[in-house]
Amino acid sequence: MFTNYSKLKKYLIFAILVGPAVLLRFSTSLYPIFRTIYLSFFDHNLMEQVHRYIGLNNYTSLLNDQTIIDVIGFTLAFITISVIMQLVLGMVVANLLNTKFIGRKIVRTLNLLPWVIPVIVSGYVFRWMLNADYGLITDWVFRLSGKEVQFLIDSFLARGSLILLNVWRNTPFMAIVLLAGLQSIPEELYEAAKIDGANWFQRFLNITLPASSSTIVTLGLFNIIWQIANIDIILGLTQGGPGSSTTVIAYRIYQLGMQWFNWGRASALSVYLLLIVAVISSIALYLYRKFEFTS
């Protein structure tokens, strides 16, 4: 297309078509990142009306803060456990939805629901269901075990609850993409394996898993990037508490910047988060391209 156009005209058309999207996106994402890096070298506090160059002070003081170390630690644990659970359960659900059964179409539709509900709403619903006095799940646990469990007051259980909500919300998405991968595996492979006497588990291990591995790896890594940045789930379920036990990096940036107006420190922590995301993205891209070319 446009091969017989003059070079200048071709560039002009390209600029008109691509320009607006690129300009809008870069000016509201790349420029802010540079601005964030710049601010991270300043003591910039909106409440105290200061703007003073302090070099790497924000970075070092963050790392000397035990709370921040704990927050980074919990972020990594939260993401790792969530994504592994989502991949395993997503694979189970995808296999379930790939089997023929009555009502499959409606179940596949229901599967999308957790993913399209506003995160802040599902956060509040889970908070209500886990309410120490009147919660639905609290009641079920009491009936089954005889124990009155205070899910969101105990820090260990609060962390577990946050992971469960995250898994509830994101597993369907994993399942959809994994299901599409399963559907691209030729049926004959399974038939042949069946004739050779392979059982369900062997077929899964030798056909399904190898065929889905590229999807699993890339999907897992992209999901880490999306989930690491989400603060709605924490605003909804725990607001970072009890104490700061369920605070992740992104939520602490929100607190530093938007509640305590310490924009310098918020920016420095943002840069740390960006570094983590950059590392994960690089791995994701490397694996994505590798699988793209080999498959």
Binding site: P20, L39, V116, P118, D133, F142, G181
Partner: protein, 278 residues
């Protein structure tokens, strides 16, 4: 052999039941709470069969400017969808059809901005919007949200433009058609399903967005439903948090999404899977 088959069938339906149960319980509890009278809400054990009432909806409307927030959410979501889909479609067409040195790298960089956490850009965006007098305006929100949706939209749409056979467009150009005519009469009709898909997914994302209106809106002028529910959550009442009002507002936010999913299930799935498997 036959008994094993029956056993597998039972296991399958058991698994599906458990799965559907886990998905539906929170949604069911949200709707039930919204329909429960306040006086029956705080009981131990929970009231599994309350008297149904629509009073909570009336109370909600009398306590928050619900219609204004609903309108804001609508304008915000539709605006962000229009900005992102129109700009992304044009860009995707340019990337797919025009060979220019470096255009692949530009596309790659554009898609890569998808990985930038929104929270990282919020402070500078606040300053930008303030400089342009767009704090607490819906048009400011539309601009930043439209921008967030661009990388995903371009990513999906580029693959779909490439699936449209280029020969028809070339023939039309030879016959003297202008580029806008080609886009309107050939490309857009051919890409209708994928444009609808991207529109729906972007609408869901914008409708559910909390961070931007939470940070950039301060009055009824630009607050959305997602902000409103956080404010109701903060409200202190003598009997604790107003869970019946939180749930009622939650229902009004969730219901349009549920309807969308049932209407457009196929489109959503094709959009979500096209990028990752193509």
């Amino acid at each position: 052999m036959k008994s094993q088959k029956t056993r597998n069938k039972i296991l399958l339906y058991f698994g599906i039941s458990v799965f559907v149960f886990i998905i539906l319980v929170p949604i069911y509890w949200l709707f039930l709470t919204a329909l429960t009278p306040r006086t029956q809400l705080f009981s131990v054990p929970p009231n599994y069969f309350p008297d149904f009432t629509f009073d909570n909806f009336i109370n909600l409307a009398s306590q928050v400017p619900f219609l204004s927030y609903l309108t804001n959410s609508m304008i915000f979501s539709v605006g962000a969808v229009l900005v992102s889909v129109i700009l992304s479609f044009l860009a995707a067409y340019g990337f797919a059809r025009i060979e220019i040195p470096g255009s692949n790298i530009l596309l790659f960089a554009l898609v890569l901005t998808m990985a930038i956490p929104e929270i990282v850009t919020v402070v500078p965006l606040f300053q930008i919007l303030r400089n342009f007098n767009m704090i607490d305006t819906i048009r400011g929100l539309i601009l930043v949200m439209g921008s967030v949706l661009i990388p995903f939209s371009v990513w999906v749409l580029v693959t779909f433009v490439k699936r449209v056979p280029v020969e028809i467009e070339e023939a039309a150009i030879v016959d003297g058609a202008t580029l806008p005519q080609v886009l309107f009469y050939i490309v857009i009709p051919a890409m209708k399903p994928s444009l609808v898909t991207v529109t729906i997914i972007n609408f869901i994302n914008a409708w559910n967005n909390l961070l931007y209106p939470l940070v950039f809106s301060s009055s009824i002028k630009a607050k959305t439903l997602t902000v409103s529910i956080t404010e109701i959550f903060q409200a202190r009442t003598p009997y604790g948090r107003p869970w019946e009002l939180i749930s009622t507002l939650g229902v009004t936010m969730v219901l349009p999404m549920i309807i969308l999913v049932f209407v457009a299930q196929k489109g959503i799935v094709s959009g979500l899977t096209s990028g990752s498997l193509d």
